[in-house]
């Protein structure tokens, strides 16, 4: 009897671990309409570390331990040309780097979601109505993984890209807290 319980428990554990690879192919929360929506950029200014963000409404819960979502996010990061401003692997360029631990508008999943949906001052466009919400969540998962915020059991042990380690991989140590450099005397 107790053996059966142990076996059942082991199977349950194994099944629970399958979430990592689960592919949620169809969602109900895709765009409610294709008609152009008003794009608005909030009053936010950078540097507030997410302070002053309003609650966002989304029908979907964010699953930080899903590896498939993260790799889809990586693909979309290239497709939608996020890399054009934020650099391949999030090294930064015209837009801020995404692989460090500085988050101008907050590092929580819903804060990153809001940043992509609403756009931010000084260049970040709003992608509301342009990218379905599900894909924005996938991008959120990938963007957070680049600064080591992904669950270690979900971060990839290798990536599709050639040429060394990518910041989203779990071999890398997580980003060091940013300290303001001492001004030179």
């Amino acid at each position: 009897m107790s053996r059966a319980i142990i076996a059942l428990g082991a199977v349950a554990l194994l099944l629970a671990a399958c979430d990592r690879e689960e592919r949620k192919l169809s969602h109900e929360s895709t765009p409610a309409s294709l008609t152009p929506q008003t794009r608005q950029v909030g009053e936010l200014q950078p540097g507030a570390q997410g302070a002053g963000l309003t609650e966002i409404k989304t029908t979907r819960s964010f699953d930080p331990s899903n590896a498939w979502e993260m790799s889809q996010g990586e693909r979309l990061f290239g497709w939608y040309n996020c890399a054009g401003c934020h650099g391949r692997n999030g090294g930064g360029g015209m837009g801020p780097a995404l692989m460090d631990d500085r988050w101008l508008y907050g590092d929580k999943p819903d804060q990153v979601f809001q940043t992509i949906m609403e756009g931010r001052p000084n260049g970040m466009p709003s992608f509301k109505g342009r990218i379905p919400e599900d894909q924005v969540w996938q991008l959120v998962a990938y963007v957070r993984s680049m600064s080591g915020l992904a669950a270690t059991n979900a971060a990839p042990s290798r990536t599709d890209s050639t040429g060394g380690l990518a910041p989203s991989q779990n071999q890398l140590p997580s980003a060091q807290p940013y300290t303001k450099p001492e001004p030179k005397p």
């Binding site: 592919r23 192919l25 169809s26 969602h27 109900e28 895709t30 765009p31 409610a32 309409s33 294709l34 008609t35 152009p36 693909r75 497709w79 939608y80 109505g129 342009r130 990218i131 379905p132 599900d134 894909q135 050639t162």
Partner: protein
């Protein structure tokens, strides 16, 4: 008319070479197989019979069988001749495949994607280059040079009626040369497992005479017409302001992304979703609403938007002949 997918009914010189090699191999192997079976049955019939009381036959221990050596030597020589014949035929076929005359060739670049094909028709004049998807028209009797590329994983280009397989490898360019000698519609298929929808990654090859091919190519080069009726206009506006234009391209409009199939002349194509579905308005509407129901895993997201928006989009796409 469903397209042919049959390597034993070659419609081009390359496939004909491969088919004759195939027939040669089959016939030779069949002859060998029948000969071996005949030898086996002969041996079974002519072996001395023993019953429960007879002693084991130890004769071969004392004196080697006189005929064994002759039989073995004959067998080895015949096998060697047969294998050399196969080798020779194979080398000759390879040589014939590699020496197809290439004057006046049509150049097409085929790019494999999960799970569809992009066909880019090259031309020395850049303004005459055009793209389509999952459909390839080729002129009968003219050689076609296909450069093969891949965007994500390894795929394989296979039109059994025209040629053998050739892989599309990310970061590399492979080429395959073929020629259709018989007009017809042939089916091509991805022949290298490439993920969830590998089985539904097909395309259509239409081989037609040169005049018809030029006519088709000229039509494909034209940019998309401006929509005229109100519904199609609404569809156009929705396409340009929403998610569609983030991935798709329609020549002559602001939709210029190259991540998903070119839709400039989608209404003229025979199939949707890489040979998966017939191209008719109802299927197209169902596809836009939720591609995951029709082809799970396809990279296009679902659009649960109001019916009138889907109708308008379909009305617009149907004008893209």
């Amino acid at each position: 008319m469903s397209p042919l997918h049959d390597a034993l009914h070659p419609a081009g010189i390359q496939a004909a070479h491969i088919a004759s090699l195939w027939w040669f191999t089959v016939v030779l192997c069949a002859v060998v197989f029948v000969a071996i079976l005949a030898a086996l049955f002969y041996a079974l019939r002519h072996a001395p019979r023993a019953d429960a009381g007879s002693l084991p036959d130890m004769a071969s221990m004392d004196r080697p069988e006189a005929r064994t050596e002759r039989v073995v030597v004959t067998g080895v020589v015949l096998s060697a001749i047969g294998l050399l014949a196969l080798l020779g035929a194979s080398v000759a076929t390879d040589r014939a495949l590699a020496t197809m005359p290439l004057e006046n060739a049509v150049h097409i670049e085929v790019v494999g994607n999960q799970w569809w094909w992009a066909m880019n028709y090259d031309d020395p004049d850049p303004s005459r280059i055009f793209s389509t998807a999952n459909e390839m028209h080729i002129p009968v009797g003219r050689p076609v040079i296909v450069s093969l590329k891949a965007n994500d994983v390894i795929h394989s280009f296979w039109v059994p009626n025209l040629h053998g397989k050739k892989d599309l490898i990310p970061g590399r360019v492979n080429t395959i040369q073929l020629r259709a000698d018989k007009a017809g519609v042939y089916r091509g298929q991805c022949a290298e497992f490439c993920g969830l929808q590998h089985a539904f990654m097909a395309f259509t090859v239409v081989a037609e005479d040169d005049a018809k091919f030029q006519q088709w190519a000229d039509a494909q080069r034209k940019p998309a017409p401006e929509p005229t009726d109100a519904k199609a206009k609404l569809g156009h506006d929705l396409f340009m302001s929403g998610t569609c234009m983030m991935c798709h391209q329609i020549q002559g409009t602001t939709a210029n992304a190259r991540k998903a199939p070119d839709l400039t002349h989608i209404a003229s194509r025979p199939t949707l979703a890489a040979g998966t579905l017939p191209n008719d308005p109802q299927v197209l509407a169902a596809w836009i609403r939720d591609p995951q129901k029709l082809k799970p895993g396809a990279q296009m997201p679902a659009h649960h938007v109001p019916d009138d928006e889907i109708d308008a989009l379909v009305a617009y796409l149907e004008t893209l002949k």
